[in-house]
């Protein structure tokens, strides 16, 4: 009755005979009787495919879809049709990690291409095959810095990074002799004066996010020199879509570039999968976490790709590995690679600059026509934070009309209860934004 279980009664009989036991239960004889399950699991019995379809369709329809102006780390960009079609090619999605290079050239080459695309975007020399998300990538980048600068144990983290990144970092380093310290903020930007005061040679790394959590762009001119004066490493986390118009991490002088590639061809999917990217300069290559694909040759001299520099990894180094990561986000990384390859640099500039222009259009209307106050009035890419009286109720009223108006920062910071971060992508139309403004006018 189970279409994924091909064993017939006859098969089972023959197999038990070969094994030399009477029943399947005999195969479980090593399980002590006192813990062997006596009764069936207390979950519902199996369903037909169509019943499953209906149940799952019903669940999916209980989730509300609207016109989304939400961001804060997850963005509703246009996804070209080809991305989904390629990701549904069974030889990709039903494969394991490419241990056997000879029959895994497809995945290996796609990762090699992903690594190249990330390096081109960030301007760095090397990239790995992917990490889980931008938040865990921050922990991995800090670990790289700590391993590279053995005697330094302080990490300075900007107060404007995503609070979830900060939370993930705090969990990660809670029992390790590394001190995570926050750099004070000024007008919702990282305070360079505060950084100057706290940095010294005991600092292993400085972590900054730009555009930052509130959407504001951090001007990092001169920052790398300051950080490098103290032999610390500069880690810059960026929404990679912003790199279509804004300076890359290498342009700012970063040592490690991180971020999440969800804006590239991946739907918001209630937060996952995204893909954490990490790239760095050649000299830190062997400190990198996770899988890395390299180019080599086969015995006939043909170009081939293979998992390489594995001496860093957990299956070889065990407790001395650079990270414990094993499975990563390979297929999602492939999705981002397909996206970038499909649209090219011109397409990326188009998607990024349209997101930029549309966000600035909405910002202008909301501040000039509705008199809403900007949280800071700084430069931004496609996301900005406004102060909206009774923000929670206003967002609720808009949601009731099918518009997700933004992210009320109350959920992150109790003292920012009237702050709403609003994200606009190239997918939003003028008509939708005008409807947004009209609706907000009515519900304010």
């Amino acid at each position: 009755m189970f279409s994924y279980l091909p064993q017939t009664d006859k098969d089972i009989r023959e197999m038990l005979d070969v094994i030399g036991v009477n029943s399947i239960d005999d195969l479980f004889r090593d399980i002590p009787a006192e813990i062997l399950q006596k009764k069936e699991l207390n979950i519902a019995p199996g369903l037909s495919e169509y019943d499953v379809y209906k149940r799952m369709k019903g669940l999916s329809e209980k989730n509300m879809q609207g016109i989304s102006f939400m961001g804060c780390g997850s963005y509703d960009h246009i996804v070209p049709s080809v991305v989904g079609h390629v990701l549904q090619m069974p030889n990709f999605y039903t494969a394991y990690t490419p241990y056997q290079a000879e029959i895994s050239q497809g995945i290996l080459q796609s990762i090699f291409e992903f690594q190249t695309l990330i390096c081109e975007l960030t301007g760095m020399d090397v990239s790995n095959a992917s990490l889980y998300d931008d938040h865990t990538a921050a922990s991995e980048a800090i670990t790289m810095a700590v391993n590279a600068r053995k005697k330094a144990d302080r990490i300075l983290v900007s107060g404007t990074i995503h609070p979830h990144t900060r939370a993930v970092i705090d969990t990660f380093f809670s029992d390790i002799p590394v001190k995570i310290e926050e750099i004070a903020t000024e007008n919702y930007l990282t305070s360079l004066d505060a950084l100057k005061e706290s940095i010294d040679d005991s600092v292993a790394a400085v972590l900054i996010q730009t555009p930052n959590f509130y959407g504001w762009a951090e001007d990092l001119t001169g920052l790398a020199d300051l950080v490098h004066e103290h032999k610390a490493l500069l880690i810059i986390s960026s929404n990679p879509m912003s790199l279509g118009v804004f300076k890359s991490q290498a342009d700012w002088g970063a040592d490690i570039a991180i971020g999440g590639t969800q804006p590239f061809g991946l739907s918001t999917y209630f937060g996952g999968p995204s893909v954490g990217y990490i790239s760095t300069g050649t000299k830190l290559t062997r400190k990198m976490p996770g899988r890395i694909v390299g180019q080599t040759k086969d015995v006939d001299g043909k170009r081939a790709f293979v998992l390489t520099l594995q001496a860093r990894e957990q299956h070889i180094k065990r407790e001395r590995a650079t990270s414990n990561i094993c499975s990563n986000q390979a297929l999602a990384a492939m999705g981002s690679g397909i996206y970038l390859s499909t649209i090219g640099w011109k397409g990326l500039q188009e998607a990024a600059s349209q997101s930029f222009q549309k966000a600035h259009y909405l910002y202008k209307r909301l501040t000039e026509e509705l008199g809403l106050t900007s949280q800071a009035g700084n430069d931004f890419f496609n996301e900005f934070t406004l102060l909206i009286p009774n923000a929670a109720r206003v967002m609720e009223d808009m949601e009731a009309q099918g518009i997700y108006g933004g992210v009320n920062l109350l959920r992150f910071f109790p003292d920012l209860k009237d702050a709403v971060t609003i994200a606009v992508t190239e997918k939003r139309t003028k008509e939708e934004m005008d409807a947004y403004v009209d609706l907000m006018k009515r519900v304010l």
């Binding site: 994924y4 064993q7 094994i19 090593d30 399980i31 399950q37 069936e40 699991l41 979950i43 519902a44 019995p45 199996g46 499953v52 669940l59 999916s60 509300m64 030889n91 990709f92 494969a95 394991y96 490419p98 895994s104 050239q105 497809g106 796609s110 190249t116 992917s130 889980y132 865990t136 995503h162 939370a167 705090d170 969990t171 809670s174 390790i176 937060g271 996952g272 180019q295 080599t296 015995v299 043909k302 170009r303 293979v306 390489t308 299956h315 414990n324 990561i325 990563n328 986000q329 390979a330 999602a332 390859s341 090219g344 640099w345 998607a351 222009q357 549309k358 931004f380 949601e399 008509e431």
Partner: protein, 484 residues
């Protein structure tokens, strides 16, 4: 078949996508933001047409092997069939288009699914409750180790800094313990291939936070002393961690919670049929016993009448481990599988996984060397040590030989305690005919090893590329494409 890189297919002026025209008034960027922010460098991205993209990836797909292409007995990886209904469900827009920060009222379908998934998996594992946030098995291990830390911190016990790990453990176990702030001590296996109780006793002390175990272990053997092991560890004040990589052996048969474990992670991309995607995304949810429930990552998922909600009110939480709530696309597929199989199907899946493994083991053990000749669970480990001595044929040669038979090779050189190891896990979704043809291939390879070993040294002959030079790759790393 061409294996050009996408960059080598690029031709200036092509594009694979047309965005809608900009429909708002636009000013030059430098009028809206400081010029110091703007990018001047131009990345080398490919310029290709949509046809180029599809042909390129179709060609790459032909150069790759997945479960849909054939038998994939990769030990410890549970390469079972990935049901197609899961993919259809995973594509429902009511799942894909939801933003992670939408109001709870607008994501009741998701919350219900998460709640029901935690409930079902808690029942399957015999644990109290859990979190679906961890992105992969290793991430679940990390979460579990931090739960240990939180538990001892709350008790004010600062001495417990060591984690015990068997020599046969997955490499992620010691790595996860280490990055979580523990020191790792290895405990040995005895002549049965099981945890040595004597050695365990020698290591237990008031400095031991706990032990990480896989049961069945990586030899495919059930740790039959598990009750005694749990008693000893608990009496010494430690906790037990269950690496769920091998859970496919025991669903509906025995539960880690009943064995005495305090924390367990599952690999949903193994046991619950979600695709591995060429290395991810996976999901490594974590489940706990009563004593660790307060420390689970926030937010938890709760239910109040008919309403589901996120529970952030967790004063003793170990903290956050992922940006949002985990790899939803994987969780949706896993839940689809759970309700498809149900209590009866999941139990059958484990029973047939064990049946298939024992059948293969019996068929192969007279030709290939089996270190521990006893009933196995869902997998078993053969050794090519004798073949290496007699014919100069290693586990690697056998693996490469299998490629020419259209079979994915077993896991090789793991576990480390078996020389020239070949770890074979057929899974329940393979028919007797498939197993028989695998046996035929293995027997033919043995014959070739004996009579014409040079053929196996040359293998594979019929793959997209032949044996690749790993040393060259590591010595002279080329990690990205560069324009010539």
């Amino acid at each position: 078949m061409s294996n050009k890189l996408i960059f080598e297919l690029s031709s200036d002026g092509r594009t694979g996508y047309r965005f809608p025209d900009l429909d708002v008034p636009a000013a030059p960027l430098e009028e809206s933001v400081s010029t110091s922010l703007l990018r001047n460098s131009k990345p080398e991205l490919p310029e290709v047409s949509e046809v180029d993209i599809i042909r390129h990836y179709t060609s790459l797909a032909k150069r790759n092997f997945g479960v849909d292409a054939g038998f994939y007995p990769l030990g410890s990886c549970t390469m079972k069939y990935n049901p197609k209904i899961n993919e259809d469900v995973g594509g429902f827009s009511g799942f894909t288009s939801i933003h992670p920060l939408q109001s709870e009222e607008s994501v009741q379908g998701y919350l219900e699914m998460l709640y029901e998934t935690i409930k079902s998996l808690s029942e399957i594992t015999g644990m109290k409750w859990g979190t679906l946030q961890p992105y992969a098995g290793a991430h679940g291990e990390f979460t579990g180790m931090k739960l240990f830390k939180s538990y001892f911190k709350k008790k004010g016990d600062k001495k417990r800094t060591k984690i015990l790990v068997p020599t046969s453990a997955h490499g992620t176990n010691p790595a996860s313990a280490r990055i979580s702030g523990f020191q790792v001590e290895e405990i040995t296996a005895d002549e049965r291939g099981l945890v040595s109780i004597e050695n365990l006793k020698e290591h237990l002390s008031d400095e031991v936070a706990g032990i990480m175990l896989t049961n069945p272990n990586t030899l495919g053997l059930f740790e039959k002393d598990i009750i005694e092991i749990a008693r000893l560890v608990h009496e010494a004040g430690g906790l037990l961690y269950y690496d769920g990589a091998n859970m496919n052996a025991i669903m509906g048969k025995v539960r880690p919670g009943d064995m005495g474990f305090d924390v367990i992670h599952l690999n949903l991309h193994k046991t619950m049929s979600t695709p591995h995607g060429g290395g991810g995304p996976g999901a490594g949810p974590v489940f706990v016993s009563d004593r660790l429930i307060d420390f689970l990552p926030a937010p938890d998922v709760g239910k109040d009448g008919d309403r589901y909600y996120f529970d952030y009110d967790k004063p003793h939480t170990m903290g956050r481990v992922s940006g949002f709530y985990g790899n939803m696309a994987v969780l949706v597929r896993a839940y689809t599988y759970i309700i498809t199989m149900g209590s009866d199907g999941l139990q059958k899946a484990s029973e047939y996984a064990v049946l298939n493994a024992n059948y293969l083991k019996e068929k192969l053990k007279t030709t290939y060397h089996l270190y521990y000749d006893t009933v196995c669970m869902h997998e078993f480990v053969l050794s090519a040590k004798k073949m290496k001595e007699e014919f100069g044929i290693s586990a690697l040669d056998i693996a490469k030989g299998l490629l020419d038979y259209g079979v994915h090779p077993p896991t090789i050189y793991f576990p480390l305690i078996v020389p020239e190891a070949m770890m074979i896990e057929p899974t329940e979704t393979e028919s007797k005919e498939t197993l028989d043809s695998f046996v035929d291939a293995m027997l033919e390879i043995y014959k070739t090893a004996k009579e014409n070993p040079e053929i196996l040294h040359e293998a594979p002959l019929n793959t997209a590329v032949r044996r690749v030079d790993e040393v060259l790759a590591a010595k002279h790393p080329i990690l990205k494409w560069k324009p010539e």
